[in-house]
């Protein structure tokens, strides 16, 4: 699904160069539920942004679902992002003056789908996260957990193969966090690849596989402290899903 080889990301400002990722290599396979952990500033968000085509990499190769993305222009990258990837953010990032229906509609609009098709997908995505009766509500009228579920509905409405979540439970209390995790696990069970960045060991423990990023280098925890250089055949570490 997702294969990175020797990916580096360097942020250059006038004063310093930050090596956010250093020759990071890893692979995420179809059907996986992966948790990315690591200390603050280690490059987890950077990895996720590159995986989600929000940022370009400085060097290395990145293949998403069989497509080498480094040669793509912005239009093609945006199209790929729209079709294959769903994002879930820590701060939900719902558009405040759009109701849930219109929020979920956003990625579908850029897909250029027909009106009826969009309506069908919006309804089913909101139903899926249990917000079918709240379509006309605005984000501010919902609890944090409901907002994050709406954001997940928006992320999955287009039927992406890959869900990228950056600390999706970071702003939620534990009950709400559990709710959101359960939803992500259900989506994964139905075939969506889920990559989740988290600081929460409890959540990391629920993933099939953990990738630990330290100082821009990834290590597969279940495989010991060795650096993950070759693609890890990691799908054999099944965690019980609660």
């Amino acid at each position: 699904m997702l294969r990175m080889k020797d990916v580096s990301k360097v942020y250059r400002t006038e004063v310093i160069e930050t090596h956010a990722l250093r020759e990071l290599s890893l692979e995420v396979r179809e059907g996986e539920f992966v948790a990315v952990t690591g200390p603050s500033g280690s490059g987890k968000t950077t990895f996720l942004n590159i995986a989600g085509l929000l940022e370009e990499l400085t060097s290395g190769t990145y293949t998403l679902d069989g497509v080498d993305v480094s040669s793509l222009d912005d239009r093609a990258r945006s199209r790929l992002r729209n079709e294959k990837i769903g994002f879930v953010f820590q701060s939900f990032n719902l558009i405040p003056d759009l109701d849930l229906f219109a929020n979920v509609d956003v990625p579908l609009r850029y897909r250029g789908l027909s009106r009826t098709d969009r309506h069908r997908r919006i309804a089913s995505a909101l139903e899926r996260v249990g917000l079918g009766s709240r379509m006309k509500h605005f984000p501010a009228e919902l609890s944090g957990g409901q907002q994050q579920r709406a954001a997940i509905a928006r992320a999955i409405a287009g039927g992406p193969k890959l869900l990228l979540a950056d600390e999706p439970t970071g702003n939620l209390d534990s009950a709400m966090a559990r709710e959101v995790m359960q939803l992500l696990e259900e989506l994964n069970a139905q075939g969506t690849v889920v990559v989740i960045v988290t600081h929460d060991p409890e959540i990391a423990a629920r993933a099939q596989r953990n990738i630990h990023v330290v100082a821009g280098i990834a290590a597969d925890l279940e495989r010991g402290p060795a650096l993950v250089r070759a693609p890890a055949g990691a799908a054999d570490h099944h965690q019980p899903t609660a």
């Binding site: 989600g52 990258r77 729209n82 759009l98 850029y110 287009g158």
Partner: protein
Amino acid sequence: MFVYYLELAARSFRRDRALTALMIVAIAFGVGASMTMLTVLHVVSADPIPGHSRDLYYILVDSQRLDSYVPGEEPDFQSTRFDAEAIVRARRADRQAMMSGGNVAIESGRPDLPPFFVSARYTSADFFPMFRAPFAAGAPWTAAEDDGSARVAVITRALAGKLFGPGDAVGRAIRVDGHDLRILGVLDAWQPNPHFWDVSSGRTYGETEQVFVPFSTSRELKLRPEGNMNCWGNEPGPNDNLALDAPCTWIQLWVELDSPDKVAAFHDFLISYSEEQRRAGRFQRPPNVRMRDVLEWLDFRQVVPRDVRLQTWVALGFLLVCLINTVGLLLTKFLRGSPLLGVRRALGASKRSIFAQLLVESGAIGFAGGILGLGVAWLGLFAVRHQPTPYAQLAHLDLPMLGATFGLAIAASLLAGLLPAWRGSQISVASQLKSH
């Protein structure tokens, strides 16, 4: 997608009402002021006789004395009666007409309508077909009436209505400066502006003359001319200025020539006429002739008032200032909204679609500014019409100007939106999402 972008623009306006209102007002005032002045400019500089202005030539031959002669300098801007009559008589052009303005008293003989003055034009038969004057009734006079100094006249429909009511005026008599003239024709509504045929008078814009009389008749009846006159030589007495051989220029001379060959031939004719006159001792200077078509002549005489041009530039400068302000406001607005743009990018919007979205938003501001700008232009023209300038009455918003106002507003706002929209599309998505 366009409709979706319009929806987004509407939402964005609601999000930032004050800023949006400020931009709309800025565009409205810039566009309104510009359209006010452009309308005035359009009115005063419009082609007064479209389709024919390139075939009609204002003719000048230099008949002045040799002293103070500078080779190549411009001849006096009007013709002597002698030259005008000779050139008209020669009939070398498709059409030719000589003319002078005048001011005459009209007596209706009706007790309820005391005598009144109207402006008149003394001219020759070709005037009407040459300048495409439309007749409501009757017909123009012919060369025969010119030659015979016939007691005839052509009048406007307005004057006919005033004198005779709705009845037919053709064939009736009109009393002009104490002489009865038979009305041969009544002109239909005709308002070429400016009155290009005579730009020496102060009445270049506005109403046309109301009475037209053969030039020959006007001289026999000693009707009073009106306009500029320039005399040289031994300064004859005031009455003699109008004599056939008086060294005075006061006649406008026009010819119609519909091909470049004819123009060249006519130019040759003017040269040989000048040489002939020089041999005869009437002209002292070497041949010095000018032929200018209507637009060249208006341009040369700077008929378009200078202040109108200046004010138009000032208004356009004001528009530019408003636009620069709008650029700044749009930048503020778009960058303020960049976290949401970042979300859209993450959800699959390309840079190009963000750019299009923001440009549509700019254009929508221009559209609103255009509507308000129409109001501003309407008020501006209302103010212009209350100025004591001769062209003031002509300043109205017509359909093309209405369209132009919208076009200008939208074009201006799109232009103002280019840079902000580009900046908005280039935001770093990752850092926008982080700061959100």
